[in-house]
């Protein structure tokens, strides 16, 4: 820094020296003020500005980390909620299946019952009808038997005269004839070609 002394001694009184001096010769007052202003600003920056900025950095880092922790917690909560929803959904699905199975079983049971009832009803109707038919057939046979007997005796009496008017004998002949007819001893072909 001995350079400083050269212009200082050479420049005294002239004033013109500094106007024409080589630009790499430092001016003492400028040099001094550079140091002074730097020192002042450094003091402000070191004492006030940097601590404040570092505090902002720290607070922001803490805020960000806190935010991340909160986000993680929220994520965990969301996952738990999702799990419980899934479990509930699983339960609901199982219950729905069970209900459906029950309904199907009940339906099948109902159908079976109905079928049984219907079959019972049908067989009852068939039975009643058969019984009725039988009864009607019985009564028809009975009335036919009387009719056939009278017709036969009428016809026979026309052919052989009045000798067969005896009630008892006539009845005995007819009964015998009919019994022979039912037992199959007399073939329908013998009676006539119109049977």
């Amino acid at each position: 820094m001995h350079m400083l002394t050269i212009p200082a001694s050479g420049g005294e009184g002239e004033g013109g020296f500094w106007a024409t001096a080589a630009p790499i010769i430092p001016h003492p007052i400028e040099f001094l003020f550079s140091l002074v202003v730097f020192a002042g600003l450094f003091w402000v920056v070191a004492k006030k500005v940097v601590p404040r900025l570092e505090q902002i950095y720290a607070e922001r880092t803490a805020a960000i980390e806190g935010g991340m922790a909160r986000a993680e917690q929220a994520q965990a909560e969301a996952k738990a909620a999702l799990d419980s929803y899934n479990a509930q959904l699983q339960d609901a699905r199982g219950e729905a299946n069970r209900i459906r199975e029950d309904a199907r079983a009940q339906g099948a049971q109902i159908v079976a019952e109905m079928r049984t009832q219907a079959q019972a009803e049908a067989s009852r109707i068939v039975e009643a009808a058969q019984r009725q038919i039988e009864a009607e057939r019985q009564s028809a046979v009975t009335s036919l038997r009387g009719e056939v007997g009278r017709l036969s005796t009428d016809l026979a009496s026309r052919i052989v005269g009045e000798s067969l008017q005896d009630e008892v004998r006539q009845k005995g002949i007819v009964e015998r004839f009919l019994a022979e007819l039912e037992s199959g001893d007399i073939k329908p072909e013998r009676v006539g070609g119109d049977v």
Binding site: W18, I29, F38, G40, V45, K48, L53
Partner: protein, 263 residues
């Protein structure tokens, strides 16, 4: 510079190109004790930076305002991109105030070169950058000696594992670098860039103005020169930022070298 000036003198009637004397602007007093215009600029820059930093960090908002964002941006650049990356996360924090102050003071003083009504890059007067380089020089030697001890610091200049014969030569080279080359180049680089940029802009603007007033075809050349002056101004702004950045970066490098475990 003189060739251009001579050419102009041949074509017109007496254009004198700006020279180093345009930087001499004493406001109070004379000679070596004069308080010059750049001294005021330095004081204004310091006050401006201090006021801005205090005002924008006062509220300490987590969601920053525009001003706080600017301060934080500059601070982040110096703190993380320069100090932390170069000095290392162990020790960088105690050098951040120094580097941050350096960066902002140089940056604002440099930008005064293109901001009216200042229009004067303070660092184009060598007294200012040399003083700041001296601060860095003292700091990196002191922290180095504190870390390694007085003898240990000088020993650490020579890389270990060198053949015995080379040690003295390397030591002298490193000594010159450490004591002389680094501080001088640190100051001169900043000074030279600001000085040259300012004198070039002064030449473009005053030369253009001279040609605009001249007759014939010269006003056209003057207009082109002024267009170039605008481009130069933008370029100068880039240089002003870069020089502030480079000064801070190299300061961090020197400090990092001094506090490193081995050179």
């Amino acid at each position: 510079m003189s060739i251009i000036a001579l050419g102009m003198e041949g074509g017109g009637d007496g254009f004198t190109a700006p020279d180093a004397s345009i930087f001499w602007e004493p406001l109070i007093g004379e000679g070596a004790t004069a308080i010059t215009r750049p001294v005021f600029l330095m004081v204004i820059a310091g006050a401006l930076v201090a006021w801005f930093l205090l005002a924008t960090t006062k509220r300490r908002a987590l969601v920053p305002s525009k001003g706080q964002m600017m301060t934080e941006g500059a601070y982040g650049l110096v703190r993380n991109s320069i100090a932390k990356d170069i000095i290392g996360s162990h020790e960088f924090l105690r050098f951040v105030p120094l580097l941050f102050t350096m960066f902002l003071l140089i940056l604002v003083n440099n930008f005064f070169g293109v901001i009216p009504p200042f229009n004067y890059p303070t660092m184009s007067r060598i007294g200012f950058p040399v003083a700041l380089a001296l601060v860095i020089w003292v700091v990196f030697h002191v922290v180095g000696m504190k870390k390694h001890g007085f003898v240990g610091y000088w020993k650490s200049l020579v890389p270990s594992g060198l053949p015995g014969g080379m040690v003295p030569a390397i030591f002298i080279l490193e000594l010159i670098t450490d004591l002389f080359t680094r501080p001088v180049t640190l100051g001169l680089r900043l000074f030279g860039n600001m000085f040259a940029g300012h004198i070039l802009m002064a030449l473009f603007i005053s030369g253009g103005w001279y040609m605009l007033q001249a007759g014939g075809i010269l006003p056209v050349a003057g207009a082109v020169t002024w267009a170039f002056a605008i481009v130069m101004t933008l370029f100068e702004m880039l240089v002003e930022f870069l020089q502030a950045y480079v000064f801070t970066l190299l300061s961090a490098l020197y400090i990092a070298g001094a506090v490193a475990d081995s050179h």
